[in-house]
Structures are given as C-alpha cells and as structure tokens.
Amino acid sequence: MSEYKQAFKKAFPYTIPVLTGYLFIGIAFGVMYAEKGYSFLWAILMSVMVYAGSGQYLAVNFFVPGISFIQVIFLTFMVNVRHVFYGISLLERFNKIGKKRWYMIFALTDESYSLLCTTKVPKGVNEAKFLFAISVLDHLYWILGSAIGAIAKTLLPISSEGIEFAMTALFVVIFIEQWMESKNRIPELIGVVVAVSSLLVFGANNFVLPAMLVIVSLLFVGRKQLDKEGAVCR
C-alpha cells in the first residue's frame, strides 16, 4: 500500500495543469447537464462512467425524447474516434503494465494522453503505479469539476449562456500545444483546412465524416514528407 501512496505523492505535482483545466471544463459540463434538469448525482454518474470531455458535452444533447441509439453511438464514436490513435502511441508503454492497464485505457482522455506521453517517471517510484496514479487523479478532478458545476447551477441562478465555449478554448489550447512541436504543423493545417472546406460543402451536421476521410487520404498522400521522425509518442 505504501508503494501506492508514494506513487500518488510523486504523481500529484505532474497533474496540477490537468487539475486546473479539468475543474473548469468539468464545471462547464456540470452546468450544462444541470440545465437539462439533471441533479449533480447524474453529473457524477456520467463523469465516473464515461469520462470524456468533448464526448460528455456532446452527450448532454442526447437527453431529449425520441433520441435514437444509433445516432448516440455514431456521434459519440465520431467525436471520440481520435482516441483510437492515442492508444496506438501508448501500446508499448501500456503493454508492460498488468491488469491496471484496462482502467488506464478506459481513462485515456486528451489530457491524460498528453500527460502519460510526455511525463518522465521520476527515480525510485514504480512506473506502472506512477502512471496509474496519474490516470486516477485526472479522473477524480474531472468528477469533482462536474459535481461543482452541477451544484453551482442549482444554487446560483446565473445565466450560463456561452459556457460551452470552454470546450472550444480547450481545443485551441491543445492545438497550440501541438503547434509548438513543429512536426505537427502540417497535419494540423490539413485538419483545419479540410474541416472548413467540408463544413462549407456539407454543412454543420454532416461534415465530420467526409472531413475525416479526406484528412486520412491526404495524410497518406503526404506520407513521404510527413513520416520523417521515428518516435510515436511525443
């Protein structure tokens, strides 16, 4: 048990940026979900079971009469499809870890992914337990944020119009963080340009799938130029 205690102690300072980020976007989720008429217990339940920033923002829209489950599955899959590729960059690191990796795969959000990919394990701490501690702490911050947001919405009747912008801001922040790595710039530009073109052609409700297909095709066409560096994980 003391080995776990040490792993959590060592991991905590590394998770502070996620703590701050998750409190804010978690609060925004809690507020949005509470606006639909769901209590903080529902917000906690969703954050425990789903644990996805953009996925849960999107999911708030599913709680209307007559929603089709096919649509729920398709939209959730589309908004989370990038996670398929997060796993690819962590295969080797996670495959060294025992049964705990199933929880860590479940908890593989944008923020945890970038933390797990970039953090060097400090000396004198068990690597598997350290990475596990990062995943658990991030998850707790997310649950805490959504509970605070849902409770605040019920207590303070302030207008939350526009709070969903927290998600846009989050992705702008991740975009800039990725941009700092110069090798990511061409793929990022491909993503933006193709998405905008697809949005103009197909409209707001249908542009994601055509955009994804064109993006993947362009990434293959440009493979010779883009595939220069060997490391998979940043």
């Binding site: 996620v18 976007i25 729920v72 590729f85 997060y86 846009t168 702008v172 990022e188």
Partner: protein, 110 residues
C-alpha cells in the same frame, strides 16, 4: 428531467461503452507481443494533430457569420485564448479567461 431515469441511465451506458470502445480498439487489435505495422504507427503520429485541427473547427461549426453578430464573439475569444496561451502556457488561465470573455460577449455585448 426530460427523460425517465431508466432511459437516461441507458444513454449514459451506451455513451460509456462507445467511448471505451474507441479507446480499447488498438489494444485489442495489437495485443501484447504483436508487431505494430509501420502504417499504423505513422497514422498514430500524424492523425492526432490533424484531428485536433478538425476539432477546433467542429467546436466553432455553429458560429453565425453572415448575420449579426458576424462571428465576432468567437473570433475575439479564440484570439484571446491563443495569445494568452502562447504568452503564459497556463491551461486554466487561457480557458478561464476565454470562456468568461465569451460569456460576457454573448450575454451582455451582442
């Protein structure tokens, strides 16, 4: 609540399973000890930044550009988030200030 508790719980379960599926797929396709093809490694590397680029557009897809307020709240707030983040590299600050500014713009100014 717009739906019954049972139906709401079912939606959460479906969203949870679908989300987990996207995260677990690579680990099922490439279990311990299996070689990962070069093509997949390449995609793992370049698709993430491309998708992040697409997601920024995805978040802004509902912006009204051709009529009032002409996308000004979005443009101003995104710019502020970007400049703040390049300057301070602090997630909470960038997201917090940007969101409060956007809320102010859509509720009070426009």
């Amino acid at each position: 609540m717009p739906l019954s508790a049972g139906m709401s719980f079912l939606i959460i379960v479906v969203v949870a399973i679908t989300t987990f599926a996207t995260r677990v797929i690579p680990f099922l396709v490439f279990p311990k000890g299996k070689e990962i093809p070069k093509t997949v490694q390449y995609l793992g590397k370049v698709l993430t930044p491309a998708v992040i680029g697409m997601l920024v557009v995805y978040c802004l897809k509902g912006t009204t550009i051709l009529s009032k307020p002409y996308g000004i709240p979005e443009a101003v707030s995104v710019l502020v988030v970007a400049v703040l983040h390049i300057w301070k590299r602090n997630n909470l600050l960038s997201i917090g200030v940007g969101t409060v500014l956007y809320m102010f713009l859509v509720q009070v100014v426009f």
